[in-house]
């Protein structure tokens, strides 16, 4: 047990960095802040690789099944002998896998930021926030208690808020950070209620115990939660759906996705870390962590499936129309997370039917690498062009060869072209979908083609399209940076190498729903359809965008209002504004405000006014004359004497 105790250091190192940089960074350490943060995270990364090696290859496996190990458990708040909030560290396949993902992507982002954020005034603060985020995310991953998950969940939200509003003198960034915080906070309300429901019926907040109790059909807790029902659904469905609501908010699932595209106002490396690779998959991770319980309830899983599939398709369509490169990537993230969600939703717990679970985790793993690579690549393009808009780019392949190659690899990976990483994980998801649900399979296949199309639309628009116009130096007062220093190129190269090879990780042997190895094979015949579709989509994108021609405009016109709707993100933001401004404010907000002003405040004012009136009446007693006071004193004494001597004998 205790031979995993050193895992405690993995989250504690970034926390220490955060404290040191947060307190002393701006004044004393601004020159070495980046180095300090990177070094401490490098140590954490090495530790998590050591942990992964130890767990997966040395002592995690007992009789061919990966065990769930509680490395540390400390009871923090005890409500009753059974219900307590513990702080613990759980070591199991998905937490170790996530440790590796989070620390390595975070490390890449730290290194990249050394170049990207160089010269920023709040450089140390930036690294402090990055460390805070990394700490919270690692804490979230390692949580053994669902309330601990919730605490770190909120911490992650806070650090995301801080990093989105890093450029706080930009009104749009401030608005975006508030939007992100409020939307995810609203979703977290559901999460909290879900926790309370499960905690109430399960009689514990410990995830292991909850799973144990709710997965045995004859336990009293399971019987009580399934027999209790509310509005026609059992409490188990309610609890799980509400927990999924929290996950959907963090993971930007439809219709709680509106914050993610706006969150791109933050610095690009932050988008790579938080809004692509780690924080947004927290929702998927949460569902995976509670998966044995989810698998007991068909309707909750169906919700997960359909929300995931709808988000995947919806985001992919929007991504085809956007012109801000970071927004395209944001919608693509949302679409890929949709994939992970529905893969979980169609999965069963354990054995061969757990393919979806394993595929989802595999996709999470590979997606983290190629999506952070895409974002960092976009970061270096933005660093050079000083614009997020596609129309300001084009023909950059000669100016930034390394970025070009890395971006191309990432695009091929996300499009699912063999042998890049995305191919393997997407194949698993499609296979799982094919066996479980044909409708979902159709959606997934179509989305896969769309994904290839919009990714290569992005690729061709940035790197081909027209001849480079940026080469004229100082066109906006900045000198041309080229590709930036090696600290910006190195992460791209490392991540590109990852995007090529992480697909070959024998994932089905390591991370499965029940810990036992799963035999999978890539069926070549099955792969033909998605790969051909992807290639066709890429060729289509190439014909549209490789050179500037009128074809894309024609197609745009052919789609007409549908294109406009997609360009306007299907008016979801407008619907939100309509609901809040026209329905929530006048019909809920204003009555409550009236009640507050007139009833609550009225009662308080009454109290205050009564007190003032009475005081006005009796203030004459305080005359300032000593002899009057003496008189009151003796009068009181006489009155009390009479009272005690004659009346209360």
């Amino acid at each position: 047990m205790s031979n995993y105790f050193y895992i405690l250091w993995i989250p504690l190192l970034p926390l220490a960095t955060f404290v040191i940089l947060g307190l002393f960074g701006r004044k004393y350490l601004s020159s070495i802040a980046g180095l300090l943060g990177t070094t401490s995270l490098l140590t954490a990364t090495i530790l998590s690789f050591v942990a992964a090696k130890q767990y997966f290859f040395i002592d995690g496996k007992v009789n061919g099944i990966y065990q769930k190990i509680i490395a540390l458990k400390y009871t923090w708040l005890e409500f009753s002998p059974n219900v307590s909030i513990d702080l613990g560290i759980v070591v199991d396949p998905i937490s170790v896998m996530m440790l590796v993902v989070v620390t390595s992507v975070s490390l890449m982002v730290h290194v990249f930021s050394l170049g990207y954020m160089k010269g920023e005034e709040r450089f140390a603060t930036y690294y402090a926030f990055l460390s805070l985020f990394t700490f919270s995310m690692l804490g979230l991953i390692l949580s053994a208690n669902i309330f601990q998950v919730y605490m770190f969940w909120e911490l992650v939200g806070v650090s995301s808020f801080l990093l989105i509003s890093y450029y706080f003198n930009k009104p749009s960034a401030v608005a975006a950070s508030k939007k992100a915080f409020i939307v995810t906070r609203f979703a977290d309300l559901g999460f909290l209620i879900g926790i309370l429901i499960l905690g109430f019926y399960g009689g514990t907040l410990d995830i292991g115990l909850l799973i144990e109790r709710f997965t045995s059909v004859h336990s009293t807790q399971f019987l009580s939660i399934t027999s209790a029902s509310f509005l026609g659904a059992s409490m188990l469905t309610w609890g799980l759906t509400l927990i999924f609501m929290g996950g959907a908010g963090k993971s930007a699932m439809f219709p709680l996705h509106i914050w993610l595209p706006d969150a791109m106002e933050g610095p690009t490396p932050v988008s790579a870390l938080i809004h692509a690779a780690t924080m947004v998959v927290a929702g998927v991770y949460l569902v995976a962590r509670m998966f044995p319980v989810f698998s007991m309830d068909e309707s909750a899983l169906a919700i997960v499936t359909y929300v995931g599939a709808a988000s995947a398709l919806f985001a992919a369509i929007i991504a085809c129309t956007q012109t801000d490169i970071k927004r395209v990537l944001a919608y693509s993230t949302m679409s890929q997370i949709g994939y992970m969600m529905f893969a979980l939703g169609i999965s069963k717990n354990g054995g061969e039917n757990g393919l979806g679970y394993m595929a989802s985790m595999f996709h999470l793993f590979t997606h983290a690498f190629f999506k952070s690579l895409l974002f960092l690549g976009a970061g270096s393009v933005i660093h050079m062009v000083h614009s997020n808009e596609m129309k300001d780019m084009g023909g950059l392949r000669k100016l930034m060869p390394i970025t070009h190659i890395a971006f191309l690899i990432a695009c091929l990976a996300i499009a699912g072209i063999p042998p890049f990483a995305g191919f393997f994980s997407k194949e698993e998801i499609l296979t799982a979908a094919f066996h479980e649900n044909k409708i979902i399979y159709g959606i997934a296949l179509f989305t896969a083609a769309l994904t290839s199309f919009y990714m290569f639309r992005l690729y061709f628009s940035i790197f081909w399209s027209k001849e480079a116009t940026i080469s004229s130096p100082a066109h906006d007062g900045h000198e041309s940076h080229g590709e930036g220093p090696w600290v910006m190129k190195l992460p791209l190269l490392i991540l590109a190498a990852c995007a090529v090879c992480v697909g070959f990780v024998p994932f089905s042997q390591l991370v499965t729903s029940d810990g036992a190895a799963l035999e999978t094979h890539i069926d070549l015949v099955f792969s033909i359809a998605p790969v051909i579709l992807s290639v066709l989509a890429i060729l289509l994108a190439a014909s549209f965008y490789k050179n500037q021609n009128g074809k894309s405009a024609k197609v745009t016109n052919a789609f007409g209002s549908f294109y406009t709707a997609a360009y306007k993100k299907f008016y979801v933001d407008e619907i939100y504004i309509f609901i809040t401004k026209k329905i929530v404010f006048p019909f809920i907000g204003q009555p409550i405000a009236w009640f507050d002003r007139n009833v609550v405040d009225g009662f308080m004012l009454l109290l205050a006014k009564t007190t003032a009136k009475v005081a006005e009446l009796i203030k004459g007693l305080q005359s300032g004359k000593v002899q009057n006071y003496a008189m009151y004193f003796f009068g009181g004494l006489v009155a009390l004497s009479i009272l005690f001597i004659y009346i209360w004998k």
Binding site: K619, G620, Q622, S623, G624, K625, V626, Q627, A630, M631, F634
Partner: protein, 104 residues
Amino acid sequence: MQEIPLTQILFVSTALFFIGMYGLFTRRNLITLLMSIELMLNSVNINFVAFNKYLFPDNLDGLFFTLFIITIAAAEAAVAIAIIINLYRSHNSIDVDDATEMKY
């Protein structure tokens, strides 16, 4: 010599107490007020001594209490006179009716 009955002594001390009280309520001069308070204290002293002698002749507690009260009365007089002198310096008067600033 004939013993004086306890009631007569109590009569004297009660009279003294109420004379002091009357002075406290009616006089305006602070020195006089101080003197009235001394009268009341002394009436208490008489009570202590008298009860000690008539009820518990073997004990000395009442006498000790009297000594304490005399000591404290002396200290109190010193403090009070200091206050009165300061009041005179700021108000040019030692009339209680002139010192009524501490009110609502």
